[in-house]
């Protein structure tokens, strides 16, 4: 799966949770889930579940804790897709 495709899918996943439109408009690898997108911290677990469903992978708790930015998420997804 191409990086662009992963990023596009990620963007549509986070869209309903993001409370800051500007963060969505400038959606890039450095985008921070909490600071830039203003996603409620409780909703981060929902983002992870949606990512799991979308990419058919499982994200363990340790990986989830390191998932602060869109780039982090992209790397985790790429890793899991390579080594399921």
């Amino acid at each position: 799966m191409s990086e662009k495709e992963i990023m596009d899918r990620l963007k549509s996943i986070v869209k309903p949770y993001a409370q800051r439109q500007e963060g969505l408009d400038n959606f890039e690898e450095s985008t921070d889930f909490i600071n830039d997108l203003e996603i409620n911290s409780a909703n981060l677990v929902d983002v992870v579940l949606d990512v799991e469903d979308e990419f058919n992978i499982e994200i363990d708790n340790d990986s989830m804790e390191g998932m602060l930015t869109v780039g982090d998420a992209k790397s985790i997804i790429q890793n899991k897709l390579k080594h399921p």
């Binding site: 309903p16 949770y17 909703n43 677990v45 929902d46 579940l49 708790n61």
Partner: protein, 424 residues
């Protein structure tokens, strides 16, 4: 000096109508909201009928954000949020998205059990070892105070925000608790009400107790028969009712429309002593509750024009009417008019008290008494106590000054509220 308390807003989600205007029409027209549910037949329920409000997806999007709607599977929260938000807006209040909370406004919104379908989802995932798949809203959709928490966030209330629970007394109890808070000067506005989930997991326990009617599955509209000789149990319902209580001075300052005044009321328990038990009311306590409600409302027994009873359509209806005759010392033609909303909605359980308070207030505000459905064959034990025309079969236009509303619940708990027509 105790503050006077009035009602300035209402909202309702009932089996026979959703929204205050439609509900008012349904009352006058005596519309039944009882339907047959194939799901209950499939599950081998004895009683395969019930009362379930009809809410469209379109309507939901007016009350919840797309994010709130994701994974929302708690019917009590849906009903409570719609009714509660409606009551707030009906009172002419605005929803401020930003700034400080409204410190003068609080919420007491009760329930019996909340988010049963969501809880079932969670139980199935947990039993499959998939606890991590529950998502973030499993707790808030199933905690009892989920309903007051959702409303508190939507409306931005900064006073007390809580949930009460006292079985079928819940809604009327919430009203009286909010009333006392305003009366004592601790809040200017209290959104009070209650909600109840629908469906087999809520209604099943009652079906198992064999206290629901099983012979009306083909004629659902005739099943709920309070005060009738052929009553054979209560029809389970669901929904929510909400009332915005407000300090009289605050209502006048805002130029708010005033539906009626809450004069007072009483809440007590029969202690499950004497004839009282977990599931039956102690008549001594019921009579005392009525008397105390009149006493602290500073009115006479002769002032009561109408009673909106608890009257569920079980064998206990006669006992309830007898208790009213004893508490008021009024019988035969001297007895007030009496009616039961449950003939149209079934017994909405923890939502019953608040939905019926809304129905009571609509009668005072619009000066009519809705008729009792399915009560052509009035119970002989009741006719020994009061005249048949005191139980109207059809809606009548009638001057009403004072109405008494009663609710009783499992655990032998009682609540009686007294409403009075407001004249500026």
């Amino acid at each position: 000096m105790k503050k006077r308390v009035v009602i300035t807003g209402m909202g309702v989600v009932a089996p026979n109508a959703v929204g205050l205007r439609d509900f008012g029409s349904a009352l006058r027209e005596m519309k039944s909201g009882i339907r047959f549910f194939p799901e209950l037949e499939k599950l081998k329920f004895s009683c395969q009928i019930g009362g379930k409000p009809e809410i469209s997806e379109d309507l939901l999007s007016n009350y919840f954000t797309p994010l709130q709607l994701r994974g929302l599977n708690s019917s009590g929260i849906v009903y409570g949020v719609v009714a509660g938000t409606d009551a707030w807006l009906d009172a002419g209040l605005e929803i401020q998205e930003n700034g400080s909370p409204d410190w003068d406004s609080g919420i007491i919104f009760g329930t019996g059990i909340l988010g049963v379908d969501k809880f079932r989802e969670a139980i199935q995932l947990i039993d499959q070892g998939k606890t991590r798949r529950l998502g973030s809203t499993s707790v808030v959709q199933t905690m009892a105070s989920g309903i007051s928490a959702y409303l508190g966030g939507i409306l931005g209330c900064g006073n007390q925000v809580t949930t009460n629970s006292s079985a079928c007394t819940t809604g009327t109890e919430a009203l009286l608790m909010g009333f006392e808070r305003i009366q004592n000067g601790k809040a200017k506005r209290m959104l009070v009400g209650s909600c109840s989930d629908h469906g087999p997991y809520v209604w099943g326990g009652f079906d198992a107790m064999r206290i629901l009617p099983s012979k009306y599955n083909k004629e659902p509209g005739q099943a709920s028969r309070p005060m009738s000789e052929t009553a054979s149990g209560f029809v389970p319902g669901s929904g929510a009712g909400a009332l915005l209580l407000e300090e009289l001075d605050s209502a006048i300052d805002r130029g708010a429309r005033i539906y009626c005044e809450v004069l007072g009321g009483d809440i007590n328990s029969g202690g499950q002593r004497g004839e009282g038990s977990m599931t039956a009311a102690n008549s001594e306590a019921v009579i005392r509750c009525i008397s105390k409600a009149l006493e602290n409302s500073e009115i006479e027994v002769s002032d009561i024009d109408v009673i909106n009873g608890h009257l569920t359509a079980t064998t206990r209806d006669s006992v309830e009417v007898e208790n009213w005759t004893k508490a008021l010392g009024r019988t035969a033609n001297d007895f007030p008019y009496i009616n039961s909303l449950k003939s149209m909605t079934g017994h909405c359980l923890s939502a019953a008290g608040s939905i019926e308070c809304v129905a009571s207030v609509l009668q005072i505000y619009n000066q009519y008494i809705f008729g009792n459905l399915n009560c052509e064959d009035k119970h002989p034990e009741i006719l020994d106590l009061i005249n048949p025309d005191k139980i109207p079969n059809n809606t009548i236009e009638q001057k009403i000054n004072v109405l008494a509303k009663a609710s009783f619940g499992f655990g032998d708990v009682n609540a009686v509220a007294i409403f009075k027509r407001y004249k500026s």
